[in-house]
């Protein structure tokens, strides 16, 4: 077990290192003069016109003129010390920028994860237990359909219908900035209702299919048949045998889903003007804000690796057979 753990952890650390390196080179070689994005287009040309030395000194300050190796080592150092420099876009420390939006993404993604997981799981068990029955016939096509609609399409549709047409919900943003305490909480809830519902719907349909397939696999397993031949009631078989065994793959994939908590809602965030990690990343990429894009990317990847590690450990704990391999 110990050996297994150590191996898993080492793999995770190595994976993170590779991702860090890859992200450095990728972002560094993106087209576009970083200097121009650093000072802003209009200001850039103004300075170029009037004060080119100033531009040079800015480039110097951000280390854009150093050789790649030097930049790489400095970059590794900055990753370790969590110092990603100043964001090109608003001149604030990148880490501060990211941490000021991370909780908004978490606010969307944790409820999505929990609600989607619970709802999808429960419905999946019921549908998988009685395949071909009414529940299955109704839910499976719906879930399949939801899996086929790109999230941006659903987002646009929901925005057009509920926000523009029916005016049930505010059309974007996270809060109108009114009141404090309860008033504010309610206000935020109102703003998150639509994006959250869409995210939950998607997550739920995905989890539903997952649970359904793992239940229907377990249903035909030997121990289930044995239990049935012993004369156990359906309910008992369902909860004692099927659920318990179907739960393992479901739990591990729930664990792995945690990795997408920070990066999974980019599309919805962009459409609903939700100023979370996803939108921050998208804006950073499109305005070539290297430090921000890099940090966002790394932190998302870090989450994925950690979640995978967690699921590996979980598997190891529940099913020790895998650890001996």
């Amino acid at each position: 077990m110990g050996k297994y753990l150590i191996r898993r952890i080492l793999t995770a650390v190595f994976t993170i290192y590779v991702i860090i390196t890859v992200s450095f080179f990728m972002v560094r070689f993106m087209p576009g003069d970083p200097l121009q994005h650093l000072v802003g287009q209009e200001e850039y040309y103004y300075l170029l016109d009037t004060d080119p030395e100033e531009l040079e000194s800015i480039a110097e300050k951000y280390g854009l003129n150093d050789p790649l190796g030097v930049q790489y080592v400095r970059y590794l150092k900055s990753v370790v010390t969590l110092d990603f420099g100043i964001a090109y876009s608003n001149k604030k420390p990148v880490v501060e920028n990211v941490f000021s939006c991370i909780h908004w993404t978490v606010l969307l993604s944790i409820p999505t994860w929990i609600l989607g997981g619970l709802l999808g799981g429960v419905l999946g068990v019921l549908a998988g237990w009685r395949p071909g029955k009414r529940l299955d016939c109704v839910l499976t096509p719906i879930a399949l359909f939801l899996n086929t609609v790109p999230s941006n399409c659903i987002g646009v549709l929901a925005l057009a219908l509920f926000a523009y047409k029916l005016r049930w919900v505010p059309i974007g943003g996270m809060t109108s900035g009114i009141g404090t305490g309860w008033v504010r909480t309610l206000d935020i809830l109102k703003h998150m209702a639509l994006p959250l519902s869409i995210l939950v719907l998607f997550r739920c349909s995905g989890d539903f299919m997952l649970m359904k397939s793992s239940v229907s696999q377990v249903r035909h397993a030997d121990y289930t048949t044995t239990a049935a031949s012993k004369g156990l009631s359906d309910r008992k078989i369902l909860f004692r045998h099927v659920m318990r065994n179907a739960m393992l793959p479901y739990m591990t994939s729930m664990c792995m889903q945690m990795g997408g908590l920070l990066s999974g809602s980019m599309m919805i965030e962009t459409i609903f003007g939700w100023k979370g990690m996803g939108q921050l990343f998208y804006n950073a990429v499109s305005s070539r804000d290297f430090p921000t894009a890099q940090f966002c990317f790394l932190i998302s990847a870090f989450c994925v690796v950690m979640a995978n590690l967690l699921s590996d450990i979980l598997v190891g704990v529940i099913d020790p057979r895998v650890t001996v391999k």
Binding site: T15, M26, S151, C153, A160, L262, S286, V304
Partner: protein
């Protein structure tokens, strides 16, 4: 017997949908009423007998755009899926058949690729490469092959233990022949269904990317139509004939491939 017929219905429906779009894509030039890039003074026009789905912000006929969009969206989806499936299958074969260091390397690579947030990397890449069909295909493929590799690898590992494979190996049959004759032919169904799934997910990614405005100039994919409908304020102004059709087309096409992929897999 009865049951088998039942599960085939979704596959049939899916194939019909796919067939429909493929035909549209092929005969597009023959059935469009207008050149999709032809502009006219009628901007933001409502649906009318002349313009079935109205016109967009520079007076282009939306119906014609949509028909041409079928081409781009299908080409990207299928092209990317072929790449993904080929790469995925090849890696799975190598890793499962040869085992050892090769297996370790490929499994490691798979784990690594799986640890990267997909859409984020794809977005980064499309910005990095110049926009266009090819770069979208590359960006989609680079993270999407992992699922296929994982599934196939475990299938091949199981097949390896089958007697007929063992016998062939024992009589010194060349690896290539075993792979082609026994492994691939046995995995044909699953590869095809993984391929169909890959098309659907590639089309979804493409829709997202061109929706974000990462497509090429003047390219009339469904995602690009929706991009302009959204960012040129067609959606907020309730011009549903502009934004609804590309959404429906994308969903329907993805559904077609999904049905084939999902139910095709269960058929066995």
């Amino acid at each position: 017997m009865k049951k088998r017929k039942k599960v085939n219905i979704p596959v049939l429906a899916g194939s019909l949908i796919i067939g429909f779009f493929v035909i549209i894509a092929i005969i597009a030039p023959a059935i469009v009423p207008y050149d999709p890039s032809a502009t006219s003074a009628l901007t933001y026009g409502k649906p009318s007998p002349e313009h079935l789905l109205g016109t967009n912000d520079v007076g282009q006929d939306i119906f014609s755009e949509l028909i041409y969009g079928t081409r781009i969206s299908m080409v990207i989806g299928i092209f990317a899926a072929v790449v993904v499936t080929c790469v995925g299958t090849l890696l799975a074969l190598l890793s499962a058949w040869y085992g050892g260091v090769v297996d370790k390397l490929i499994t490691g690579l798979t784990n690594l690729a799986m640890a990267v947030p997909g859409l984020a990397l794809t977005t980064l890449l499309v910005c990095y490469l110049s926009p266009g069909i090819l770069s979208i295909v590359v960006a989609i493929s680079i993270t999407a092959w992992t699922g296929t590799t994982r599934v196939l690898r475990s299938q091949i590992l199981a097949l390896k233990e089958e007697p007929f494979v063992k016998i062939e190996k024992a009589i010194g049959q060349r690896d290539i022949v075993i792979m082609g004759k026994h492994l691939l032919s046995n995995l044909k169904d699953i590869i095809l269904s993984r391929g169909a799934m890959a098309v659907s997910s590639a089309m979804m990614t493409e829709a997202s990317l061109s929706f974000l405005g990462l497509g090429a100039f003047g390219e009339k994919s469904w995602g690009a139509i929706l991009h302009y409908a959204f960012f040129r304020n067609g959606v907020v102004r309730g011009l549903y004939w502009w934004y609804l059709p590309p959404i429906l087309c994308t969903s329907l096409a993805v559904l077609g491939f999904m049905l084939v992929g999902y139910y095709g897999q269960q058929k066995r």
